[in-house]
Amino acid sequence: MTRLRDLIHAERPGGFPLPDWLARIVSAGIISTDPKVVRRQRFTGIVAFACAANAASHLVINWLYEPATLVPVHLYNAVFAVAALLVTRLHRFGETAAASALAMLIFIGTMFAIWMLGRDSQLQVYFTLAGVMLFMFGMENLRQFLAWFAVAFIALLVALNVAPPDGLLLPEGSQLREVLASHAMVNAIIINGLVILYALTTLHRTEAELERQYARSSALMQTILPPRIADRLISGGEQKIADRVDNLSVLFADLVGFTRAAHDLPPERVIDYLDDFVRSFDDLCALHGVEKIKSVGDCYMAAGGLAGAQEADAISLGRLALAMLEAQANRPPLGDTRLKLRIGIHIGNATAGIIGDVRFSYDVWGDAVNMASRMESYGAPDRIHVSEAYRLATGASFVFEERGETEIRGIGQARTYFLVAPRRP
């Protein structure tokens, strides 16, 4: 049974679970409300933070290695780190303003570093991460990304072939270059790992949410339509449902005196009682292989023979009626009153189908329904009032008591019976 709260659920997935301080840095400067834009700009924030952290790590390692001679480089790393973090201020100027600025900053900065320190420092390895920019620009801005990607690609080739191998700043520092090479490599590995982790985690969460919404839809479908009808629509591809069923048996069960008993009670108690009432009958329907159609107020409607087995289902419906009487007898009173059930059953022609578009439902119409309803309203408490047709259809399985002839509004005189007990073979 579906739980109502599972169907109501409508929370959207949160972003990657970043620690608070990082989340604040990464979301800095974002003013857009479009979730896709926000995602791209947060990603830009992440890359900016990674660049700043990267520059900081270079600053620290270089300082430890050569505090004095590399002052321009220390300065460059410090400025680069600050500039990268400030890039997020540009979000307010446009969707891709910060992303473009960051791309420009990385390109210029890295080329500067390569020329200063030499291509043998292998700093051009950072260009292999160019694909990361795709998440900053998004598919919506693919052309901008491709432009920057081309820039990175060309920069890579240029650096490999044209940049001075030993650089301009410290041509004799070959050991520095070796340190830089391995440092840059390790940093690139870490940055790539983290960025891809973020991207795939976002994907994972979106796909998990997709599964949840799909399950939610399925559960809602189950609650609106009987499963075999839902199947016909989904798997069977039928566009409409309109079936004629001859010899459909229909049962109505009504709580006698409900309104009076419920009059002064708190609504929660009344709803509780009704909920229990409906659920217990739903279970009984499932048990007897009969289909619940709907409940209307304190009236419960079920039918047998919709899926074909009209004779067997007619008998099942009778058994269901007996089980319902027993269940109702065992139910605690509502307030001070022990409520009784009045049941009516008829077997006849009917049409079943789905009507409605936005508020659709599966329903049954026809002689079988009308007469069954009359049987119920002209019935008696704690008794199962059935038509002649029903008795003829199921006579061998039950013991009936004659009621005689009754004047039924809209139908006239009709001979009816009470179903009393199963017939012992």
Binding site: N192, R244, V369
Partner: protein, 421 residues
Amino acid sequence: MAHLRDLIGVERAAGFRLPRWLDRIVTAGIVSSDPKVVRRQMIVNVAALASALNSISRVVSMSFYGSDEFLLAQGVSALFAVAALLIHWMHRFGDNAGAIVLILVFAASASAATYMFGLQAQVQVYFVLAGLIWFVIGLERWRFAVGVIVAFAAIVLMLFEVAPQQGSAVSEATARWTAVQSMVNAITINSVMLFYALFLLQRAEHDLERQTKRAEGLLSVVLPSAVADRLRAAPDQPIADRIDGATILFADLEGFTSAAHAEPPEVVVAYLDRLMRSFDDACRECGVEKIKSIGDAYMAAGGLQGDLKSGAIAVGHFALGMLRHAQALPPLGGHKLRLRIGIHAGPAIAGVIGGTRISYDLWGDAVNVASRMESHGIAGRIHVSDAFRRAAGDAFEFEERGETEVRDLGRVRTHFLLRAR
């Protein structure tokens, strides 16, 4: 407005359709049925193939030197190529078996090549692709993945210590050329994988929007939006309200059953469908809540928020609209059908009860009396109780019916609603 078609079942977005031979390569050896595992293993297959092709191209390019000293290097590369091509066989041993072997083959192959070609050939740049491990190892195994990334970083550091600057397998020129090739390959592979990730994300987000709309649409079939909102705000609070002034309307299509008797089911259903839809639309327009349809009967309610007067007026207008729609109906099976409407205003309990069918429903005096108004009404007329007339007041013109004997209620004074004032 959601349509039945959309609500019934939205097909999952289809993936790419690959040509047969490519599809066979990409899905080789995969036995799992979990789509996420299958996706990861497909990526492993593609990576293994790329790795094998890379090793093979190395073997081929080295053979151009025609020198015996490269034989060992060629042999090693060939071995890696063969190992890579056999990776797909590992999928049957576990979800991540293929991925683990791929990682091992990749690390060994890249390390060996770095050693053979020398650091200047930049083959070690392939280790940057360590980040792609998230594509082949499930996110639940993140500790393992992080371990691999750390291991790759360590291997690189070690290679920087241990491997020669210039390898024995190649000349300076070849080393330069290989450096360019390695870098270009690395940037290309990395970017292609990121593009793929973003493509998947776009598709998932698009599907998510559609499914969410569908679920919300289905929810509005089951519950009125006000109720759904309340449940969203407080999911554990049951819905059980006592409403003092609810206006309830019942409408029955007189003669429907006998008219429908000889008609084919499609005609019957289509007829009712059209009528019910027009009623649903009228409900929306008048601000009235449709409760349910029961066979050829229709039940609606107004004033559920506690506003007796405006609810009653809305239902009155709705009833008039219903009559208009019914007038415009073509005959069914040769019979002109007419609507019989009954309205009452009074106390009711509203709530959501569940089970096989979750539904929002109303109970109480208001419901019973409204039902009696309908069953004791007259075709083509709107039969209302005294209480409704008092609630709706000056908004409509009424005709007194006088006293009528109503089952279970005795003699009561009722009226007919004629028109809006």
